[in-house]
């Protein structure tokens, strides 16, 4: 089992780079949730080099549950948008300048691609050349951890939309856990970090859904 996991380290590292880049470049929620799930599994494979595989399995399961929470939230938003669209069509049709105000200007793809490449090169330099890597960890874990943190921060910087913020935060936490789990093997900390992941997922889900809540429901 251990030999198999070690042999998967390089493919997992490459996979993590691809998933992190895809999460930064893509906008479709469903696709991003699937990619995030894959990223959690790959991170667990990589982390199993440094901790017992049961802990890695727990982290993968926690990640997949987080993705389930986000997926259910996405489903709720689709329903909310549909209801809001129907209401807008009947009573609150945007007029004149209001149409312009509702337009969303996305940061374009070439810029994001360049930013991802710059972030990746900076991570490589940070880990392999400048000596900021954690000496007690293998290079692959250092690279993966720092890459997820850098690209997660990039995602946070590029958008203030709640779901994007949530995915960025989860990437940063995932990267942090890659670096931290091997140096802090306490089961309490593993459990608490799992709680943190669930906390992030729930808080972000609430922030995503609250604009679709019907006014007066709480009264």
């Amino acid at each position: 089992m251990t030999d198999l996991l070690i042999s998967l380290a390089l493919p997992a590292l490459v996979g993590l780079f691809i998933t992190a880049a895809a999460l930064t470049l893509m906008t479709q929620w469903r696709l991003r949730f699937a990619i995030l799930g894959v990223q959690y599994v790959l991170a667990a494979v990589l982390i199993s080099q440094a901790v017992i595989w049961q802990v890695a399995a727990v982290k993968a399961i926690v990640g997949l549950l987080v993705v389930v929470i986000l997926g259910l939230t996405g489903q709720g938003v689709v329903t909310g948008r549909r209801a809001a669209r129907q209401a807008a069509e009947t009573s609150n049709r945007p007029r004149g300048l209001e149409v312009l105000r509702r337009l969303e200007f996305q940061t374009n793809l070439p810029f994001r691609v360049v930013a991802v490449l710059l972030g990746s090169v900076a991570t490589w330099y940070l880990v392999a050349e400048s000596g900021y890597a954690l000496a007690t960890l293998p290079l692959s874990l250092n690279l993966a951890g720092f890459l997820l943190i850098v690209l997660g921060l990039l995602g946070l910087g590029l958008s203030e939309e709640a779901m994007n913020v949530g995915i960025g935060l989860l990437m940063v936490l995932n990267g942090f856990e890659l670096l931290y789990a091997p140096v802090e093997p306490s089961l309490t900390v593993v459990a608490l970090l799992a709680a943190v992941n669930f906390g992030v997922a729930l808080a972000v889900s609430y922030a995503v859904l609250v604009p679709y809540a019907m006014p007066g429901e709480a009264e």
């Binding site: 906390g199 992030v200 609430y206 609250v210 709480a218």
Partner: protein
């Protein structure tokens, strides 16, 4: 034997779902009563419970290699946390809050207690992070759907946690390798970054004005008073526990610099505000800055001033939140233009808002004055320029409050006749609260017991 810390962890956590169930059943008064009762019981137990009374009570317990210990120094912080929470929950009785306000607030109390008790104490960052996640449920609801401030606060807390945890690991590694001084240098940098994020040091302050404007006022008060206490106590415990940190003059220089930066930025940005929420946000930036300045002095008197400010600021914030919640019943936002003339319709609420803000900035005769005066004196002795900067920042907030009062007491039309519309209960509540702020300003010695907390941090100072 019952571990004393366990009581504070379990009691709010058990009550939170019950409070939510009461809300679901529509028993609003019962919901508020239970939340207030839990907070009051917590405050009383924190003040009176013996830490070790064999065979009934012991002061610690362990879970999977981590220990939760209740020490005498935690008593004061716990009393303040639970008492302030009780006041804010009571306010929710006067101004109905969102469905998750009270359950989430009660659950957070348990996490804040855990943050105070956990050993090694840097693991408090994890509990503060989970508390921040729960706070998002308080900061947005159906009536306040804008979540930018809540998400920024949550983002900065989440980003701060890894730095603190890495610092804990570096400190442990340093204990195992005493010859490697580089580890402690790295730990110091990690702690600086972590606390800069957690304490909203410039440029990580942007969530404060956003949250103060977008979130329900009572939730803002909870976030910026109750939830800030454990962060400051964590910093104090850290300085007290590690001589390599507390005896490093650069640490105090950094605290002073961070505090001064916050005070200057807050003063510049608050001056042009035309919004009661954002004004409070920047006033809070100044307030946080003043507390960091007090700690940065590196003296026992500075720590006492910071602890006293932490104690009384909650009262001003609570008063502001109560008054603003009342005003928001009639206004869609906190802009002065929207609130025009409300001073005549709701004079007691407007007085509460003004007195709350003035107490926060430390106007004479208000509860916030004694600690602010103490800090100004200390700064004037050591660095008069910084005292002048702080005084200018206080004046800046005062000007905005006066401008706000002018807008609130000016009717939209000169011939408009406005009748007072406040309920008798609201009038009595605001009167009592304003009187409490004034009485505490007139008799500051009533606050002195809180200052004795500083005695529990004997190793602070370079």
């Amino acid at each position: 034997m019952i571990p004393a810390p366990l009581i504070f962890l379990v009691l709010p956590w058990l009550a939170a779902p019950l409070i939510y169930l009461l809300r679901l059943r529509g028993w609003f008064r019962a919901e508020v009563a239970l939340a207030v009762t839990v907070a009051i019981v917590g405050a009383l137990l924190a003040g009176a419970l013996p830490l070790a009374a064999p065979p009934w009570v012991r002061d610690s317990f362990g879970v999977l290699g981590r220990t939760f210990v209740m020490e005498p120094v935690d008593r004061g912080a716990l009393v303040q946390i639970f008492a302030l929470a009780a006041l804010i929950f009571l306010g929710a009785g006067l101004h109905p809050a969102g469905p998750y306000f009270l359950p989430a607030g009660t659950g957070i109390l348990s996490l804040l207690a855990a943050a105070l008790f956990v050993r090694p104490f840097l693991f408090a960052a994890i509990f503060l992070e989970v508390a921040a996640a729960l706070a998002v449920f308080m900061l947005a609801d159906e009536a306040h759907p804008l979540t930018r401030g809540a998400l920024r606060f949550f983002t900065y807390t989440t980003l701060g946690m890894p730095f603190i945890l890495f610092a804990a690991w570096l400190i442990e590694s340093s204990a195992a390798n005493p010859g490697n001084a580089q580890l402690l240098v790295q730990a110091t940098y990690a702690l600086a970054a972590g606390f800069a994020l957690l304490l909203a040091v410039v440029p990580f302050h942007s969530w404060l004005p956003l949250a103060a404007d977008h979130a329900p006022p009572l939730a803002t008060a909870f976030l910026t008073s109750v939830m800030r206490l454990p962060v400051v106590f964590l910093l104090l415990k850290l300085l007290d526990a590690y001589p390599w940190l507390s005896q490093n003059p650069l640490v105090y220089g950094a605290l002073l610099l961070a505090g001064t930066g916050m005070v200057i930025l807050g003063a510049l940005f608050v001056f042009g505000q035309q919004n009661l929420g954002r004004s409070m946000g920047y006033a809070l930036v100044i307030e946080y800055g003043a507390i960091l300045m007090a700690l940065g002095l590196g003296t026992r008197a500075g720590v006492e001033a910071a602890l006293a400010a932490l104690t009384v600021r909650g009262l001003g914030l609570w008063l502001w939140a109560l008054g603003l919640s009342e005003l928001r019943r009639e206004a869609s936002d906190n802009a002065f233009a929207t609130l025009h003339g409300l001073g005549w319709r709701r004079p007691f609420a407007v007085t509460a808002v003004a007195v709350g803000m003035l107490s926060l900035i430390g106007l004479p005769l208000m509860a916030g004055f004694p600690p602010r005066w103490a800090l100004l004196r200390l700064l004037a002795e050591q660095t008069p320029v910084l005292a002048a900067v702080l005084l200018a920042a206080m004046t800046s907030v005062g000007v905005v409050v006066m401008r706000g009062l002018a807008a609130l007491t000016t009717p939209r039309r000169p011939d408009e006749v406005i009748e007072p519309q406040e309920s008798r209960l609201a009038q009595v509540t605001y009167t009592v609260a304003v009187a409490a702020v004034l009485v505490l300003g007139a008799f500051p010695q009533w606050l002195l017991p809180s200052l004795t907390l500083a005695a529990a941090f004997p190793r602070l100072g370079p």
